[in-house]
Subunit: 380 residues, 2 copies
């Protein structure tokens, strides 16, 4: 369903079971089966993973970060090197965020008004300005497939006025982002791009409703729920997710920004979200923590030193296929790069298999049973 | 050719061209085509590489380090976890060194006499004693395929008395190592083991002659040239190599310990050496330096920032197949693990292809041309 004559990546809803959805997003670089967890490649690489291992771990679409790439090595350099796909060695779809989250969370913001946000670069302290226009242009230059509007993401615990102001500004910026996107007829450096709007409003139902309505008015082929996972209670987060998803059109992709724990993924899927991203699975892997069907396991614990078991029985990842918990623990304790790489691959494989099982359950109309069986359902 | 009724890994000399040899070492875990460069997996992993990527990079046999593994996680723990192959996730042949080099080079030696060497563990400062007996037993417990005698490796610039003493002690220890090896009928924790003797003597021709003769008297199925690459001139190193190789029996494997630069490998092959190891290719990769047919290239140089070229045209490694020099430079500058992994894979692939080409040239009787064509020949 094309919007305003802009290129569109068709999103087909294959099945729905309760609010949980199984869909397919058709991108010029391949289909994405949803629900789908998208690994985060902040600086152009999902840390400790090569593109080949990412594919092996079931990644369908990966993220890269406009804030970081615009500053190092610079979007123009990425373009000169053949665009983002060539740069990252990844021929599947890539989603770039707008940089908004980093600008606000890295706390080096010097000034924000309706024109944009001023901040100091974490790389060299230089003063930078991100406007909605620049955020989209950087993403056009990078040449990703799915691009995000610049939003203002208030910190957890922000007051009502701050949240309301962020909603107003985010809508204002969304409109300007769409204008820049439309000026190029939706084309980025390497082909058509899908521009996603982001709603804000913290955990305030009225503000969320307002935010979603304003975005719907502008019109996007997909909508993201931003401004959550910033320290609020899990219950409030899920209620807000449910509210937003309920306000969004069924035929549009829904993206929850910043969730990557197995329990949270299943609960967000239960509330009608299609895609997710988070650094959690990769970051915790690098500290020695892995996901298993029996919960998280911290390999640094001495109890695993002589364990011959794999991390997870039946897991097809390289860590589980070739290494015992005891050996992996040794590599983690010795800070061996291979240990970090193997644990990262395991966590991503675990999440990819979890959402694939969720999809299968939705298709069969057995999502409720699945949600119960994975042991997290209802606990949140 | 079995020695003293001990298990033997047949070494067949397929071709010889001048002094350069092409052979096959038949191990219970697969054949090793020589000349062969063996990547070093100090603590049980070749840094930044997984076993799968190592195979892809052409590794046939890999090293592990008895000093490190005996202290962390301990040989008994490795045994409990299923032995060294299972621990490392590597089903090909593994060579373990004896720990001698580390004991002497880490400079935490407290006392050395004919009984063994006392040192403080780099892990916890505990006092440890390595005797020839312990060195072999640790390797038996680990369960590697090719094991090394404990030797005394004097530092570069050591005087004649120190070198002579090291030769005498190394021979004494070699005999005791063989005794322990024989007591188990040459069997380690996971099958037959091949015990290699190491000659010492610095760059003193008389001492080297003496050392080789003493080792030949004891009798080993393979001989290593140790105590080089410790700061001596390249010319002296190669002369000593030539001398030792000339004294060793044609039908036995010859191993140069500690050479891993492309020029050095070709020159050592020219002098009749079969196998090599060194941390150089993997260590330099982690600092951003890669081997190419035009010499070393330091990716940190700004000139590569916008280079779309691969590291080496025609190289089949993952770095060259999927990434530009500019992108790799970015990953190196940002200290991204993937960058270190890709550069490591490239350097190992480069060396594996170099020695494979050397082998091919030897088989065809064209080694002299090959040596000239790679551009290092005679320069040393």
């Amino acid at each position: 369903m094309s919007l305003d004559g802009l290129p569109d990546f068709p999103f087909r809803l294959a099945h729905q079971d309760g609010e949980a959805r199984a869909g397919v997003l058709e991108t010029p670089r391949g289909d994405v089966q949803t629900p789908c967890f998208m690994p985060v490649g902040t600086k152009g690489t999902v840390k400790a993973m090569t593109p080949e291992r990412l594919k092996n771990a079931g990644a369908q679409v990966i993220l890269a970060n406009t804030y970081h790439l615009a500053l190092r090595p610079g979007s123009a350099t990425v373009r000169e090197l053949g665009g983002l796909h060539r740069f990252m060695g990844w021929d599947g779809p890539i989603l770039t965020d707008s940089g908004g989250y980093q600008v606000f969370s890295l706390k080096d913001t010097s000034h924000v008004d309706d024109s944009g946000v001023e901040f100091w670069s974490i790389y060299d302290g230089s003063k930078q300005v991100f406007t909605p226009e620049r955020a989209v242009r950087e993403q056009q230059t990078l040449g990703s497939d799915i691009i995000m509007c610049l939003d203002q993401c208030p910190p957890g615990g922000a007051g009502g006025n701050e949240l309301a102001e962020a909603v107003r500004r985010t809508s204002l910026w969304a409109e300007r982002c769409k204008r820049v996107h439309r000026a190029e007829e939706g084309m980025g450096g390497d082909g058509p791009q899908m521009l996603i709007g982001i709603c804000q409003g913290g955990i305030d139902p009225e503000l969320r409703r307002e935010s979603v309505e304003q975005l719907l008015e502008i019109g996007f082929p997909g909508y993201a729920i931003g401004g959550l996972s910033v320290g609020e209670e899990r219950v409030a987060m899920l209620e807000t997710t449910e509210l937003c998803a309920g306000l969004l059109p069924k035929e549009r992709l829904r993206y929850f920004m910043g969730i990557g724990d197995p329990e949270g993924l299943v609960e967000a899927v239960a509330r009608g979200v299609d895609v997710f991203d988070c650094v959690l699975p990769t970051r915790t892997a690098r500290t020695g923590t892995v996901f298993t069907s029996e919960g998280r396991l911290n390999l640094r614990n001495a109890e695993y030193a002589t364990s011959r078991e794999p991390l997870e029985e039946g897991c097809p990842c390289a860590a589980c296929q070739s290494f015992s918990r005891g050996a992996l623990r040794h590599f983690v304790m010795q800070k061996e790069i291979m240990g970090l790489a193997l644990l990262t691959e395991h966590n991503l494989t675990f999440l990819a298999r979890l959402v694939a099982r969720a999809r299968e359950a939705i298709v069969k109309g057995e999502f409720a049973q699945f949600r119960g069986s994975v042991g997290f359902g209802g606990a949140c």
